[in-house]
């Protein structure tokens, strides 16, 4: 045993794993096990972190979905332990090549997808979206996942239209918007993350916005949890929460009678991270004719789509969590899956297509906008 190494690991993991008494609930809860695949042996990762041993495998497989933490009797922040271990690996130059490549994309283009800076605001072509730099009430943070994925542009446009309809004074940073830093944090690149976050905070604050509305729950969580600790003060909301408020305040009106069967896929970063599994249901609850068929795992127990924690940037073999999730969705007998996260949306849509599951996957913004007067 190497006590110097131990001290470094313990500091990087923020002492988070130390109080774990090794019950193994995390390992047996990990959703990767649902595909009959090897789960992440989180318990063993923590054990090795507790005493400073080499971590052999698993840390880059984690989707940071936090399902394991839900049943942890000591309420260990397991995801933070894993992030700490990733930082350790990164600093030892042991991070996977694809992760390193993804980081280069962020350094160079401000996004992990390799898209050009100039393409960032393409989704809004033809729409009237204000430049937030000139001062705005609400800053709409689009995020890289939706901005660089054409399939999500309709959802973004729907959101913009809804905001316009409700008469909200909002704007975006356009092509100047940069990655929120979530992939950087999950890659364990602490130094660049620090710079990036500081730059973003200063940019956000210059707009004078009172609220930041994030399209992705991942970005929202980053602002709410990580930025806060760095002195970020602006109020943060996920778009579904913002829309839910608008609906409640009567600022968005609907056509009568929406019917059909739908099911809801709760994004981990909304339901578990924020304890907010209400907003999507509140919005849908305004359509009394709609039949909501819940999946076996929903709300705080939702099953991850498998895309978080930088898994989008690494290739995995075999069945995917999203494949499994679409089967669960199909088994409810619903016609449409409603979600509110670009990562979930991409993965579920893709699984539907590749497995021939004929279910529509829709952002709640898009679904809502279809029904507006």
């Amino acid at each position: 045993m190497d006590d110097a190494r131990w001290e470094k690991v313990v500091n990087l993991t923020g002492f988070n794993g130390n109080e774990c008494y090794q019950c193994g609930v995390c390992t047996a809860t990990c959703p990767l096990g649902y595909m009959g695949e090897e789960t992440i042996d989180a318990r063993n990762l923590i054990r090795r972190a507790q005493i400073g041993l080499d971590v052999t495998s698993g840390i880059w497989n984690c989707s940071t979905c936090k399902l394991c933490e839900q049943s942890c009797p000591r309420q260990v922040n397991i995801v933070n332990v894993i992030r700490g271990l990733r930082q350790f690996e990164f600093e030892e130059r042991k991070a996977p090549d694809k992760i390193v490549a993804m980081l280069w994309d962020i350094y160079e283009n401000g996004n992990p997808w390799g898209g050009k800076k100039s393409d960032r605001s393409k989704w809004a072509d033809g729409l009237e979206v204000k430049d937030a730099e000139k001062g705005t009430e609400v800053l709409l943070y689009v995020g890289c996942d939706a901005a660089y994925n054409k399939d999500l542009h309709p959802a973004l446009r729907s959101l913009a239209k809804l905001l316009n309809k409700a008469g909200i004074d909002y704007g975006t940073l356009g092509n100047k918007e940069m990655c929120c830093g979530e992939p950087v944090r999950n890659a364990g690149e602490a130094y660049y993350l620090d710079d990036l976050v500081k730059e973003n905070i200063s940019m956000f604050e210059k707009t004078g916005a009172k609220t930041v509305v994030a399209f992705s729950p991942h970005c929202k969580n980053m602002f709410e949890k990580y930025y806060r600790d760095m002195g970020f003060k602006i109020d943060v909301k996920h778009y579904s929460e913002f829309l839910s408020d608008l609906v409640k305040e009567g600022k968005i009106g609907f056509k009568e009678g929406r019917s059909g069967k739908i099911t809801i896929h709760d994004p981990c970063y909304l339901s578990r991270y924020d304890g907010g599994d209400e907003s999507i249901r509140e919005i849908l609850g305004t359509f009394p004719g709609l039949e909501v068929k819940e999946m076996e795992m929903s709300g705080k127990n939702s099953l991850c789509c498998g895309g978080g924690g930088n898994r989008m940037f690494i290739d995995f073999e075999g069945k995917r969590l999203s494949d499994f999730r679409m089967e669960q969705a199909r088994d409810t007998g619903a016609e449409t899956v409603i979600t509110a996260c670009p990562v979930c949306n991409m993965n579920l849509s893709d699984s539907g297509k590749t497995n021939g599951i004929n279910l529509k996957v829709k952002e709640v913004a898009e679904f809502l906008e279809e029904s507006v007067k």
Partner: protein, 1134 residues
């Protein structure tokens, strides 16, 4: 204004569980008047619902019911059920309390005939059965409920006073017209001098644990539900079935820490779940379920005998260190997912899953605390201090049992005593209210024997065909009445026995149930209540010596039961009435040992106004507490606790004798004479033993030769000068090894030391088997140590630390069980976390105190008598009784004070009249009897005169056995003819297959009881005859036994030096040797007579000897056996 009948000061006890019951009895027997307020319809609490207790497998209600009935029969105690405290005014010594009592709607005229229940149409879930069973709107919570009348749950009743519909089914069938719908709520105001809160605990709602699926599946149960199911009078009559389909489960999983040690629910350890789950798992194995698994985190088997039960159960029960991630129904089975220490992921199918749910503060604790004006701790239980474990934050108000955090029965009982001793300080006026005894029954005519046969739920009836026994016994001469009871000890059955005695004009009573040692007094009291002399009662021990030990031999067990009951009936026929002898009691107490337990005991005893002497060997009080830095798991410093104890002791009027030891103790309960080392002599009525224990002296890891290796005690004294950076702490040094059990306090010490070292910047590695952080705040220490970066390594619990871990002077090599990895770690210093070992004091043998397997002093009962020795008038406080922490020792100290007080306050004690009678006409004054009397109680002059001094006689009967003159001296209650008639009954059928066993009351009979309690199986050939001492057994009795042609005769008794009559058993030893020669001379194989010593704890030793003797009998030819009578012709006297 006083409302009661007495002039005594009143104490209010809130909550009628075992702690409240014990506190009420301790107070009442010390002359206080007690108001016992209970929220539910019966006293008894959770203990009444439990099937068996760990680790002894005592039938829970069987040992609690006598206490419950003591409470209702004690005239100093007023029980208010369905009642709640609503207001407290005033201050200590002068509280005014208001109590609201809900109506019961059934008066005391109720006879519990149950006709109303059969008539009632309203079905509801039975709360007592955890909702597994049903009850009616009119009901009794359970068959032993006290007070006895049924009650109406008016919410469920079709009537809603003052509005009535024409139901009236219950009133129509009630003969004594006991139902009264006009009863209304009552408000009671009383002045009390002190208050004890013993409100117990509740269990966490298992539906809150989503991953364990409780609310989604009927076959996922809580331990409490299983406990009711295991109970013979529970909803399934003791059958373990799957609620989903009524079938027997084949694979059962126990899940520990369901909600405990879990930051989402309760962060603390619930303290009892490990042990009751081990007990329940073992019971399931006994029920024929082969596949039983327990998932645990740490097995917290911290108490006396706990580890032994745990290791015994490991033969049949699979233990895995893990916790399920999900428990879900899939088709016919329940699928459980969990991960193990070796990194593998399991998915297993079970038929039934049992959740050991967390203990939480009882409902209404917050409101009660407000009414009382006391504070609660963060955990929601009553707040208290280390140096005063039963205190609350308000003067004059005390707390006992689970109200101040989860704990097991003996710890609750101890605290009940401790709280009573604190409350008694305020009780100035004392009175013992007694009803005049009923007129004595005329017993002069022919014996009219009544026999009451107990099923003990399924404990007896599950093995013995009680109906058959009943039929057989009915045929015996003089038996005029026989009945079978589900629980003969239940208060209602006791009342009915009183009636049956009167109705049938019974003049002898036999109860065929359990041991006279536990229940004899209870039934003697029942006889007294009917006016029948208590010495006309005899008990047949069918449970401990038959049904429990022959569970797979139902037919021979039934035959044996007939014999056992018949032996008692035969003896009963010859019983004569006797009167107890009363002695004055010296109202002074002596506390030996001035550690925390002794200091607490002396302070409390003296504060109650009793002359108290504290004898301390060293120059200062405090004992080991002088060497303790922090009293873990609290964060209080040892010196602060000591200062407080010392302050209280100095303030009291106890006399402290330092640098003094006790040279000699003679005498008996109420009248001990003590000689101190300085020559001072004193008299005392009670002795409190608080002599402590010694720290284990390790040799492990080169301790003593290597300065790098220190003990935890060394470390306590040396925090200021620590060298080196890397520390390793080794747990269980000298504990949990073979016969050495868990030392209980050391895990907390270890965690505190790890924290202390870490705070000083050291790297700390802890090597453990199980972290037994069971006490309040201990789990917090464990968590804190982890957070601070203390590294924990688990080593193989089946090995000792020095077997599992290698130390080469600078590094440690070991296997980490938590990751199944072999490792090497640097270490500058080893801290050996040592436990305690028993001391060996001369006064132990002077007082004839029994020891447990490990050598600590043995308590009278592991559950309900934790601070009393089997020797009357001697009490045990602190580590002399077993390893424990400071807080627990102090608690025991206070508790012994209460026990001593109730003996001393009365000023007199009565003694059984088991004292020999000399027939002056027949006696030739040879004084052989006087020569062998261990107490010199027989005085005389050879050939001239002889006299017995009753006060000095202890009743062993050695004199009687020594006497050669027929009829010159006899021992009442154990006369020759009484013993011979028992021999006749024992050998009436198939004598050649039988083993006649003579057992002494104190050791071997208790050892045989213990074999029963431990369910150690042995052949059903033995017939046990109890006498007070083996020295009572004479040549006449042994030869008489042989004349009946039994297979063999076994004389048993206490080990040499353990005899309760000084050295009387040494005479037995010589005599048996002589008789063997005699038999040999008569051509009888001397091996057929044997002598065997068995202590009260050695159930196994008793059972193995019976097995050996049984094999001997089987090896003999029938002819050899049946010719014995002829060979002994002429030597046998009748």
């Amino acid at each position: 204004m006083r409302r009661g009948r007495s002039m005594a000061d009143k104490v209010l006890v809130i909550g009628g569980g075992i702690a409240g019951i014990q506190a009420s009895l301790d107070l009442a027997e010390s002359g206080a008047e007690v108001l016992l307020v209970e929220k539910s319809a019966s006293i008894g609490g959770k203990m009444a619902a439990l099937d068996k207790n760990f680790p002894t497998f005592d039938c829970s209600i069987c040992i609690e019911a006598p206490k419950m009935s003591d409470v209702t029969h004690n005239k100093n105690i007023t029980v208010l059920t369905l009642a709640e405290l609503t207001e407290v005014k005033g201050e200590e010594g002068n509280f005014e309390v208001t109590i609201n009592q809900k109506p019961r709607f059934v008066t005391d005229a109720c006879t519990r005939c149950d006709l109303c229940v059969q008539a009632c149409p309203q079905l509801r879930k039975n709360e007592f059965d955890a909702g597994v069973g049903a009850r009616k709107a009119i009901y009794t919570p359970f068959s032993q409920a006290e007070p006895g009348p049924y009650l109406i749950d008016i919410e469920s009743c079709l009537n809603d006073p003052p509005n009535y519909i024409a139901c009236g089914r219950c009133t129509d069938v009630c003969g004594p017209e006991a139902i009264d719908f006009n009863m209304g709520p009552t408000v009671i105001k009383e002045k009390v001098v002190s208050i004890i809160a013993s409100t117990g605990f509740d269990l966490l709602n298992a539906s809150l644990l989503p991953e364990f699926g409780y609310s989604s599946d009927p076959d996922i149960l809580t331990s409490y539900e299983l406990e009711r199911m295991l109970n013979a009078s529970g909803p399934t009559d003791g059958e373990v079935i799957k609620p989903s389909n009524g079938k027997h489960p084949e694979k059962v999983l126990f899940v520990l820490c369901a909600g405990s040690r879990d930051n989402r629910f309760v962060p603390y350890c619930s303290r009892t779940c490990c042990m009751y789950s081990i007990k329940e798992a073992s019971q399931l194995v006994d029920h024929g379920i082969r596949d039983v698994t327990v998932l645990y985190m740490d097995i917290r088997a911290y108490g006396k005998g706990f580890d032994e039960l745990y290791s015994r159960s490991q033969k049949d029960v699979r233990y895995i260190r893990s916790r399920p991630a999900s428990v879900k129904r899939k088709g016919d089975s329940i699928v459980v997912r969990y991960a193990t220490d070796d990194g593998s992921l399991k998915e297993e199918n079970y038929d039934m899953v049992v959740l050991a749910t967390a203990s939480i503060p009882s409902k209404g604790t917050g409101e009660l605390a407000n009414v009382l004006g006391v504070e609660l701790s963060e955990d929601g239980f009553f707040k208290n201090e280390v140096e005063d474990p039963v205190s609350t934050t308000r003067e004059g108000i005390f707390v006992a049992g689970c109200a101040s955090g989860p704990k097991d029965i003996p710890d609750s009982v101890t605290e009940a005593g401790a709280a009573s001793s604190k409350a008694l300080k305020y009780v100035r006026d004392k009175e013992w209210i007694e009803e005049p005894p009923p007129p004595p029954l005329d017993v002069s005519g022919e014996p009219r024997i009544g026999v009451f046969l107990c099923d003990c739920g399924s404990n007896i009836a599950g093995v013995v065909n009680v109906k058959e026994v009943e039929e057989e016994i009915r045929k015996r001469p003089n038996v005029v009445y026989v009945e079978e009871n589900k629980y003969t000890c239940a208060g209602s059955t006791q009342d009915s026995i009183v009636e049956k005695i009167k109705e049938n004009k019974l003049n002898r009573v036999v109860v065929g149930a359990c041991s006279p040692k536990t229940h004899g007094v209870t039934f003697q009291r029942v006889c007294s209540r009917a006016g029948l002399n208590p010495y006309l009662f005899e008990m047949a021990n069918v449970r401990n010596m038959d049904s429990w030990v022959h569970k797979n031999e139902k037919v021979p067990a039934t035959e044996k039961a007939v014999d056992i009951v018949n032996m008692a009936v035969s003896k009963a026929r010859l019983l004569t009435p006797m009167d107890d002898i009363e002695f004055p009691v010296v109202r002074a107490g002596i506390v030996i040992g001035g550690g925390p337990a002794g200091m607490a005991a002396a302070t409390s005893l003296s504060n109650m106004g009793i002359e108290t002497h504290l004898i301390e060997k060293s120059g200062e009080v405090g004992g080991l507490l002088n060497s303790i830095d922090t009293v873990s798991p609290s964060t209080v410093k040892g010196r602060e606790v000591l200062a407080k104890l010392d302050h209280d002791l100095k303030k009291s009027s106890a006399t402290v004798h330092t640098n003094t030891t006790v040279k000699e103790i003679t005498g008996f309960v109420g009248n001990f004479s003590v000689t101190l080392s300085d020559g001072e002599k004193m008299e005392a009525g009670a002795i409190i033993m608080a002599t402590g224990a010694d720290p284990y002296q390790p040799t492990e890891f080169g301790y003593g030769n290597d300065p790098k290796v220190v003990t935890s005690l060394d470390l306590e004294k040396n925090y200021s000068k620590l060298e080196g950076d890397k520390y390793a702490i080794m747990s269980c040094i000298g504990s949990r090894n073979g016969e050495k059990g868990c030392s209980r306090f050391c895990c907390s010490t270890m965690l505190q030391q790890a924290i202390d070292l870490r705070e000083r910047g050291k790297t700390v590695r802890v090597f453990y088997k199980d972290i037994r952080a069971y006490e309040r705040n201990a789990e917090n220490l464990y968590k804190k140590a982890g957070e601070m970066g203390v590294q924990f390594f688990r080593y193989d619990p089946l090995n000792t630390a020095d077997q599992a871990i290698e130390f080469d002077g600078s590094s440690l090599t070991f296997v980490d069980e938590l990751s199944s990895t072999k490792m090497k770690a640097p270490a500058d210093h080893l801290v050996l976390n040592i436990g305690l070992k028993p001391k060996d004091e001369e006064i132990f043998s002077q007082l004839k105190l029994s020891r447990d397997m490990e050598g600590f002093l043995l308590e009278v009962h592991p559950k309900l008598g934790p601070v009393e020795a089997a020797v009357q008038g001697v009490f045990l406080a602190g580590t002399v009784q077993g390893p424990k922490g400071v807080k627990e020792s102090i608690s025991q100290g206070y508790a012994t004070a209460a026990k001593a007080a109730k003996l001393l306050f009365r000023g007199k004690i009565s003694k059984e009249p088991i004292i020999p009678q000399i027939d002056q006409k027949k006696c030739v004054k040879c004084l052989r009897c006087a020569d062998v009397c261990p107490y010199g109680a027989i005085k005389g002059e050879r050939g001239k005169w002889i006299e017995l001094v009753p006060a000095a006689c202890m009743g062993c009967g050695n004199c009687v056995a020594e006497c050669n003159i027929e009829g010159a001296i006899s021992m009442p209650n154990f006369t020759d003819s009484q013993i011979m008639t028992q021999i006749d009954a024992a050998t009436a059928e198939k004598p050649d297959e039988k083993l006649v066993v003579f057992a002494c009351n104190w050791c071997s009979y208790a050892g045989a009881d213990q074999a029963g309690i431990s369910k150690i199986q042995y052949p059903p050939s033995a017939r046990v005859i109890r006498t007070m001492c083996s020295s009572r057994i004479s040549q006449k009795l042994v030869m008489y036994a042989f004349s009946k042609n039994p297979g063999a005769v076994l004389v048993t008794g206490c080990h040499i030096n353990d005899c309760h009559y000084i050295d009387a058993n040494e005479y037995t030893e010589k005599r048996v040797e002589r008789w063997r020669h005699f038999l040999e001379a008569k051509n009888v194989n001397p091996e057929r007579l044997q002598l065997w010593w068995v202590s009260a704890a050695e159930g196994n030793r008793f059972a193995s000897k019976i097995r050996e003797m049984d094999a001997l009998i089987k090896s003999l030819s029938r002819e050899e056996i049946t010719s014995t009578e002829t060979k002994l012709k002429g030597v046998v006297r009748r």
